[in-house]
Subunit: 255 residues, 2 copies
């Protein structure tokens, strides 16, 4: 009997964002691995074991799940958002490459989900309506200079910029530093969207400017979208929040 | 009575990729607007009118749907993939800004979906596992020089590159030209993933190299993912297709 491993995207949290394919993969699993709070979102079942782990234990979690699958288990690892975007799919691939040959023979499926930038963008309009990039601000796995070069490149050619992992207790200055860096290329009034926990009870989404963004409240689960030069606001009668969108046609990129 | 407009992401096509939120938005609509083949994917209902339009008529489609909503209708515009990524949400925002004040007062909701790059990435592993960008190769709405500058910037700082709208009858040379441009920065052996119609009967996903990509079969609905320098292949016993992934840790970006 050969085991299988599904790496399942839960989307931003609320059940309404789950795809049918993700529901089916979760239903078929006999064991669920994942970050504890993600597992807590799913209804518990007597015939399904749960293996919660901490946030920074991606590698150990991937190893444990692969070992379990290699013993013949039907395993699912859950991932917030989309597993392929700053989440579990790459960690699983790293372990498959590093591990024994039997892991490379396993049935492995990645089940896509709504990643945070799509959920946050949808809440405010269409800020990702033109070319964009997605960048993790965490310098745990890459030097800060690489992040700065990428911010410079992205802003100078007119990409909208989605920023994952903007800040944490261990990384308190990176967000402000990134905003200062982007100010070299973009006007102070450039719209910046902050969003977290879309669709959940503690959802918070707001729109500010590049100038104000350095000191706006954010945490590890916050996703930022920094507009390009042509990103626009539409004020709306009787509504607090403007629509934010980037037109499909490019303005000439600077520099 | 005030109308409403939902811009609904259908994902890559198969029903399994639809979220519960998208299902609910489609069920609540009394009129559906969209590109004909997208509407054809949905079960027809006697109490719901359908307003199909051609592929290039985004602006007219958005206008018609907004006009209908402003008359009090509960309207949904369907969009392939995610409405916010090279799809209908930006076109709708453009018309909301251009149109009468009453359009800005409407209830407008964007319902996110699985965009093509997430679906294609999931099929092959985790090629978007590190920083990446998404770029439309269509020069209908931006000059080709802007596209070239963005390709140069993205490849030179180490972004994985997802390319939408790579080729069409009216744009036959752009794909080969983009691949040649990227060859200035990246080795000939860089993995390139081609994917279309993920989850549908005519799904086609394959992995090739940057050298071969210029002449590989593609059409308007094909999504390309061009790896970065550190994107890797894992060959697997007894399987045709390798896993493709980009490790979470950056190698030093070139230049």
């Amino acid at each position: 009997m050969t085991g299988s491993l599904a790496v399942v995207g839960l989307g931003p949290g609320d059940r309404r964002y789950l795809t049918e394919e993700a529901e089916a993969a979760l239903a078929a699993a006999e064991a669920l691995y994942g970050y504890g709070p993600y597992l807590d979102r799913l209804p518990s079942r007597a015939d399904q074991t749960r293996h919660p782990s901490d946030n920074r234990e991606e590698r150990a979690r991937a190893e444990a799940a692969l070992r379990h699958a290699a013993q013949g288990g039907k395993i699912a690892i859950v991932s917030g958002g989309d597993p392929g975007v700053f989440a579990m799919a790459a960690a699983v691939c790293e372990e498959i490459e590093r591990g024994p040959e039997s892991w490379r023979a396993l049935d492995v499926a990645v089940i896509p989900g709504i990643t945070a930038m799509l959920a946050v963008a949808a809440r405010v309009g269409a800020p990702l309506g033109h070319d964009f990039c997605a960048l993790s601000l965490s310098d745990n796995l890459k030097p800060w200079e690489v992040i700065e070069r990428r911010l410079d490149a992205a802003a100078s050619v007119g990409f909208v910029i989605a920023l994952y992992n903007p800040i944490s207790r261990a990384r308190p200055w990176q967000l402000a530093s990134a905003m200062a860096r982007l100010r070299r290329h973009l006007p102070a009034t450039t719209p910046v969207v902050f969003g977290r926990a879309v669709g959940r009870a503690d959802e918070r989404v707001f729109v500010t400017t590049l100038e104000e963004a350095a000191t706006a409240p954010a945490d590890m689960a916050t996703l930022l979208i920094v507009g390009a030069r042509n990103t626009r606001l539409i004020t709306r009668p009787g509504r607090m929040m403007s629509l934010v969108y980037t037109p499909r046609a490019a303005v000439e990129a600077s520099a």
